[in-house]
């Protein structure tokens, strides 16, 4: 007889002979190729079917919110970028808009607004390309990963040309953008605008309507609209249940109400619907970039307030007053009057909100993130049970969480 006494104390191991269902607790992660980051999901399995899924977070907690409380308003743009690391400029945009509203700035120049829109939409396409590549490779379609990343390299090359950094550009500033785009930017952007649609068509031809993708994604992780709202979903995951809520249309910012674009929705509520919504969003983002390129206006890229935005370098070298402004801004920043505001933007993952509280000083008092992935990921508890383990991978991929913003 085998001595099983070592196992009988463990509550997770059920040794009763002939029991109808023994559940196994499996820890998936935090190091796992398909969890898109550091996520541990404690899966309770009955054979291959998931009975209960409890995600565990915190493996990437960086204290970004506390770090932002210890940096000047303009300096905090650098740490804010690093939360949602696939779409850094969305985070920046949300924070910068919140600070501008607290300051009461409403005259950011047109050129800066158009540049903000172009770069945010480029970031959206880049983020969706990473999602597409990794989601497809999780399901076994390896070639898409290479096509998607090659396209992303073009976008990152444009970013590097303008801002100097591929990721974490920290290019938006309170009052405009850091520097104007260099010569040659419009030519690069035109090249991208021409090159993107055929590649998107390629990616869609491989995956959309593909028998294997549909087998893996249709009917998996289904949620209806009422449940989606109860679980706090936003973004493509909510639009895949049919609810047409997009912050760019509901609460327009940066001139989004002047662009002609659609908000793709789908009625299925399953992984395939989320997939379709995101792929269509890439096309809509491309359309916005095209329209923004056509209306690329001239003019300054920052507001004229020397107390907020540093004067140009050429002037600092000649004028004492400009030098003093620059010195004051670098050594002690500027104060934002007391108040609090909730500002949201549409990040590729959903509604990214920031509840910024100012106590009147030169540092933020509190920057509370409303991370879309945090709430989207919580829905895993509702979506995973009843599916197979392999479906959990598909569901996590279709929710598209980024752990930098889940854990902050």
């Amino acid at each position: 007889m085998i001595d099983l006494s070592a196992y009988t104390d463990n509550p997770d191991i059920n040794l009763s002979p002939g029991a109808a269902s023994d559940t196994l607790v499996l820890s998936m992660g935090p190091q796992h190729p398909s969890t898109h980051g550091v996520l541990r999901v404690m899966l309770k399995l009955d054979g291959e079917t998931v009975v209960e899924a409890e995600p565990e977070l915190g493996f990437l907690h960086t204290g970004i919110e506390k770090q932002a409380e210890n940096l000047f308003w303009q300096q905090a743009v650098t740490v804010v970028d690093r939360a949602d690391y696939l779409a850094p400029l969305s985070n920046s945009l949300c924070y910068v808009l919140a600070a501008e509203r607290l300051l009461g700035i409403d005259n950011v120049p047109k050129r800066a607004q158009v540049q903000r829109v172009i770069f945010t939409e480029l970031t959206r396409i880049a983020s969706h390309l990473v999602w597409l590549g990794t989601h497809a490779i999780d399901l076994g379609a390896m070639s898409n990963f290479f096509y998607a990343f090659e396209m992303r390299e073009r976008i990152l090359r444009i970013m590097e040309f303008v801002t100097g950094a591929r990721m974490h550009q920290s290019w938006f500033r309170i009052g405009g953008v850091a520097l104007d785009v260099p010569k040659g930017f419009l030519a690069l952007l035109d090249e991208f605008i021409v090159a993107f649609p055929p590649r998107l068509a390629d990616l869609r031809a491989i995956l959309e309507g593909n028998v294997i993708m549909m087998d893996r994604l249709v009917g998996v992780g289904t949620i209806d609209a009422t449940d989606a709202i109860a679980w706090g979903l936003t973004g493509p995951s909510l639009r895949a249940t049919g609810v047409a809520y997009d912050v760019r249309k509901a609460f327009p910012y940066s001139g989004y109400d002047e662009y002609d674009f659609e908000v793709p929705t789908h009625d299925g509520g399953d992984c395939y619907s989320r997939f379709l919504v995101r792929v269509r969003e890439m096309h809509e983002a491309w359309r916005i970039i095209k329209q923004a390129r056509e209306r690329f206006p001239g003019g300054p890229v920052t507001i004229d307030d020397r107390k907020i935005v540093s004067p140009p370098k050429t002037e600092i070298q000649h004028s004492m007053e400009a030098l003093i402004h620059h010195f004051k801004l670098v050594s002690s920043g500027f104060n934002i009057p007391e108040g609090h505001i909730y500002n949201c933007v549409e990040s590729p993952r959903g509604e990214l909100g920031m509840y910024v509280t100012s106590a009147g000083g030169n540092k933020p008092w509190r920057v509370r993130w409303r991370p879309p992935s945090f709430y989207n990921l919580q829905a895993l508890k509702r979506l995973a049970p009843g599916n197979l383990i392999a479906d959990v991978v598909a569901i996590i991929g279709s929710l598209d969480p980024v752990f930098g913003e889940v854990d902050r």
């Binding site: 980051g37 550091v38 907690h61 960086t62 770090q67 690391y85 990343f149 992303r152 974490h168």
Partner: protein, 160 residues
């Protein structure tokens, strides 16, 4: 290594032969934590193609990898996990600390981020936030140089 012109033989030392094999097939483990992980994924992409150097096989299992690239900020909760994974890797193993956050805490000088050299023996530090894929490939080249210069130990060691 000498190739004799008249007979189909190659003469070399066993150490050199093993080091040649090690440098040509460094298999990284996917320790992708944060933003640096995306740049780590980009080295496999066509533009930076790390499979020229034999390192494109990212094995998720630590049992079958030689190189741990700690890419991203290490939070407190993740430290025991990384230590366990490092101990599961078979010898000889190397560690690249990729990015500013893994090397020293980076932008985040606070309670939550731990530099990875406080609990792992690091061979190469790659600075950057995030380092571009070129920089990471350069880091892998440095590991190759370290292996060629002497490696982790001699191949044939009398074990007690």
């Amino acid at each position: 290594m000498e190739v004799s012109p008249h007979h189909p033989f190659i003469t070399t030392k066993l150490d050199e032969f093993v080091r040649w094999a090690q440098t040509s097939s460094i298999w990284p483990m996917t320790m992708g934590l944060a933003c640096c992980a995306i740049e780590m994924m980009s080295i496999v992409s066509p533009r930076y193609d790390v499979s020229r150097f034999g390192a494109e096989k990212f094995s998720s299992s630590p049992r079958q990898s030689d190189l741990m690239i700690v890419s991203g900020r290490v939070a407190n909760k993740m430290v025991p996990v990384i230590k366990q994974l490092f101990e599961q890797m078979p010898d000889p193993k190397w560690v690249i600390s990729m990015g500013a956050c893994a090397s020293s805490g980076g932008v985040f000088d606070n309670y939550a981020v731990v530099p990875c050299d406080t609990f792992l023996p690091v061979d190469v530090y790659v600075p950057g936030c995030p380092p571009s894929p070129d920089a990471l490939i350069y880091g892998i080249m440095q590991i190759r140089k370290q292996i060629e210069a002497g490696g982790k130990r001699e191949v044939l060691v009398a074990r007690a």
